[in-house]
């Protein structure tokens, strides 16, 4: 756990503090994302945690120990540190770069070698081909991964990451974020993560700390911040698509309901009655292989009449052949599909079987729900 | 006497610098068009640059067409300038951003136009830095030409050394040093005026 108490930093020769009496707690095993406009003091705060900068006043505790009481070099050896510019040593190979902190700890050679290979696999690079390359022979994304691996080398419980994915293109960044989140589920480190991209913050953070002009403006879970922005600054910073952003915090499986009613093509003339029997608002059409090939809704009967012909119903259902999503799709993307197919519903798939259904009404309800409701 | 020495010193330096410019700038530009030629020319320049100045003057003197005096001094000084001038012209023109040239070609400029309107202007900071080095160096080495008959500020030192006349030595050495520093300073100021706005070179 990292605890900052009334921490203030005024750089020499400046009158306004870069960080102004900041008090906050970062829980063990969580990713805490610092986000805010350029120059708001994110990096300064981060760099005070590993004593790259000394605060002008206030105290910082890691696991209830004042960091002032430990030797700075020792302290830093126990904290992984990733910077935006990566800072790989250009005259050392990938393996030597990753081995820096283990070497400082005095690990035996074979243990270091094993650890290097293990980390290379972990970050998705082939040890055989990557190990003895020099940084100049790597792509930007690969360097960034090595930077992260290097910070994790001695398995530090705490990691500080200053815009660690800032130097790569959006697609590679997305990929790195996913991989990192998958990794974090296993390694459960306490991570402070700086970004000025609110979307990255929402995606990566267990908690988000929004900074402005050296002050902490709001601190809470992504849902908390999206649903209850503390003031206009936070609301503006999040943007007009606040609600849509919030939908990206949830997946289809979080709100899916069980399937009420299914029919096979030869039952189509009986569809209306069957839906009445099951009290279902939507009915999935299932082919002989058991796969869904569309659906019809109560609305369709309102428009076409209760005695709509099987051919018409079949055609309507067929237009929604692709209005299905997997359970792990984000609600934001599901909403987009609903708008695209102009329906009220989407089927939820597991493999080739339909296992549930979500509706526009459910999404709307979810979006307006406040945390704790 | 000092006036005469100073005058001679200046006129030798001036002549050497002008000839060097006329010779090495075109050579530097020319070799940007042929890698092999470039590496050969630059190697020769580097080798000449390594030769101790007294040696080079001495060798010049033994060439019958040159003999003792100004002609030998001039040739040696011009040869020395080949390195700083030729190399900097070459490098300056060569390092111009490829995309700038690509864009210019795309606009329909031919390669001489590109050289004249883009590469040379963009290379001025580097070329001027080389020019500055050449001028300062020439000023210093010119003094040594006194040993092959030039009557310039070097003579003050040379005679001071043989006669153990400390005032002569000090005034000679200080004058040469002062002239070199003054020239460097003046050229530094001119450099600021000449270099295209938007380009600022960092001298290493």
């Amino acid at each position: 756990m990292i605890e900052l108490k009334e921490v203030t930093k005024i750089y020499t020769g400046q009158s306004v503090p870069a960080v102004d009496s900041l008090t906050m707690k970062i829980e063990k095993g969580e990713i805490c994302v610092f986000v805010g406009p350029s120059g708001c003091g994110k990096s300064t705060t981060l760099r005070m945690i590993n004593r790259m900068i000394e605060p002008s006043s206030g105290t910082i505790l890691i696991d209830n120990k004042n960091i002032k009481d430990s030797d700075p070099d020792k302290l830093r050896m126990g904290i992984g540190y990733v910077i935006q510019q990566i800072g790989l040593l250009p005259h050392r190979t990938v393996a030597e770069n990753i081995a820096i902190v283990p070497r400082l700890h005095g690990w035996p050679k074979d243990k270091i070698n094993r650890r290097v290979d293990e980390l290379l696999v972990l970050i998705g690079l082939d040890p055989e081909t990557t190990r003895s390359k020099f940084p100049s022979q790597l792509s930007g994304g690969q360097m960034q991964r090595i930077g992260v691996a290097r910070a994790m080398a001695a398995d530090p419980p705490v990691m500080l990451m200053d815009e660690p994915f800032g130097a790569v293109d959006p697609i590679a960044r997305n990929h790195l974020q996913d991989e990192f989140l998958r990794l974090q589920r296993e390694i459960k480190k306490t991570i402070v993560f700086v970004t000025h991209d609110i979307n990255e913050a929402i995606k990566m953070g267990d908690k988000i700390a929004i900074f402005n002009r050296g002050r902490l403006v709001q601190y809470g879970t992504p849902q908390d911040i999206l649903s209850r922005p503390a003031n206009d600054f936070v609301a503006d910073f999040i943007g007009y698509d606040r609600v849509v952003k919030m939908l990206s915090l949830f997946r289809v499986e979080d709100i899916a309901r069980p399937v009420g009613c299914t029919i096979e093509p030869n039952e189509l003339p009986n569809a209306w009655n069957k839906m009445q029997d099951y009290q279902a608002a939507v009915c999935f059409l299932i082919n002989s292989a058991g796969e869904p090939s569309g659906f019809i809704t109560g609305d369709d009967f309102l428009k076409q009449g209760k005695d709509a012909s099987p051919d018409v119903l079949n055609k309507i259902a067929g237009q929604r052949k692709r209005a299905f999503v997997e359970g792990d799709v984000l609600l934001r993307d599901a909403l987009s599909l609903i708008l695209e197919f102009n329906t009220e519903y989407l089927g939820v798939l597991s493999g080739n079987r339909v296992v549930g259904v979500i509706s526009l009404g459910d999404i709307r309800k979810h979006a307006s729900k406040k945390e704790g409701d | 006497m000092i006036m005469e020495y100073t005058e001679n010193h200046f006129s030798l330096v001036l002549a050497a610098v002008i000839i060097s410019l006329l010779l090495w700038v075109p050579v530097g530009v020319l070799i940007t068009r042929n890698e092999k030629l470039a590496s050969m020319v630059l190697n020769i320049a580097n080798t000449i640059f390594c030769i101790p100045s007294l040696s080079l003057f001495a060798v010049m003197v033994t060439i019958p067409a040159l003999g003792l005096g100004r002609r030998s001094a001039l040739v040696a000084l011009v040869l020395y300038s080949m390195m700083p001038l030729g190399r900097n012209v070459y490098q300056g023109v060569k390092v111009v951003d490829k995309s700038v040239i690509e864009a210019a070609r795309g606009m329909g400029m031919n390669s001489w136009r590109i050289l004249w309107e883009i590469q040379l202007p963009l290379a001025t900071p580097v070329i001027f830095a080389g020019f500055r080095i050449a001028v300062v160096m020439t000023t210093g080495i010119a003094a040594i030409a006194t040993y092959i008959g030039e009557r310039n500020l070097g003579r003050l030192i040379a005679e001071g050394l043989t006669r153990f006349n400390i005032e002569m030595i000090v005034s000679g050495a200080l004058l040469i040093a002062l002239i070199a520093i003054a020239l460097d300073t003046v050229l530094g100021i001119i450099e600021k005026q000449i270099v295209p706005k938007g380009l600022k070179v960092r001298r290493s």
């Binding site: 800072g87 | 580097n46 390594c50 001495a58 003197v61 000090v170 050495a173 460097d184 290493s204």
Partner: protein
């Protein structure tokens, strides 16, 4: 050409002159390195940051003072002989090495230093394992420049009794013996060029493989 004189120059005078010249250069460059590299390191430490810029400017200025002037200026203070020669040459050699040491150390990317510090490397370790290796090619380039200078200015040492290959040239000039001129000048040129190539090779070898230029 008078072959007797060539023989005399080559066999009787040249071995000693060349020997003295080489010793002169080696001693001078060693002293110059021993002074200017630590000086350069000191001046690039954050504590003396401002001083470093000032010193760099002064060194740039001193660089413009011609070698003959420096040699000549030493004589009134230190007299004649090898000692004042070595002093004057050391002053000449100091400048390019110190300058390049400072420039090389300044040139090390601050990001790399920040990352190294952030991983818990001590300042001393960073100096030895990061900064000096990365600056080494530039420092060596300075040593190379200094060596060529010193060989060159070293031929002027003959005028203050320092000996070396300059002796041959001076004799040749005084007696109008082209044979002496050519032998002295030729050996001087060969010495300078060989040292330059040797150092270029060392520079190429010690450039860390990751720093492709």
């Amino acid at each position: 050409m008078d072959w007797m004189r060539v023989k005399q120059a080559l066999l009787e005078r040249a071995p000693e002159a060349l020997g003295v010249h080489i010793v002169m250069v080696l001693v001078t460059i060693s002293i110059a390195i021993a002074i200017s590299v630590p000086l350069g390191v000191l001046l690039t430490r954050p504590k003396y940051k401002n001083l470093g810029v000032v010193v760099l400017n002064i060194l740039n200025l001193l660089q413009t003072i011609p070698g003959l002037a420096i040699i000549a200026l030493t004589m009134p203070f230190l007299g004649l002989g090898l000692k004042p020669t070595i002093f004057a040459l050391t002053v000449q050699g100091l400048l390019p090495i110190a300058r390049n040491t400072i420039a090389g150390l300044y040139g090390v990317s601050p990001d790399v230093k920040e990352a190294a510090l952030g991983m818990g490397m001590s300042h001393k370790k960073i100096l030895y394992e990061v900064e000096l290796p990365l600056a080494m090619p530039i420092i060596l380039a300075g040593v190379r420049t200094a060596t060529v200078y010193v060989v060159s200015v070293g031929t002027l040492a003959a005028y203050i009794g320092g000996g070396g290959l300059g002796d041959l040239i001076v004799t040749g000039l005084a007696m109008f013996w082209p044979e002496f001129l050519i032998v002295g000048a030729g050996l001087g040129a060969i010495l300078a060029i060989s040292l330059d190539r040797l150092l270029a090779y060392v520079e190429y070898r010690i450039t860390p493989p990751g720093l492709g230029t």
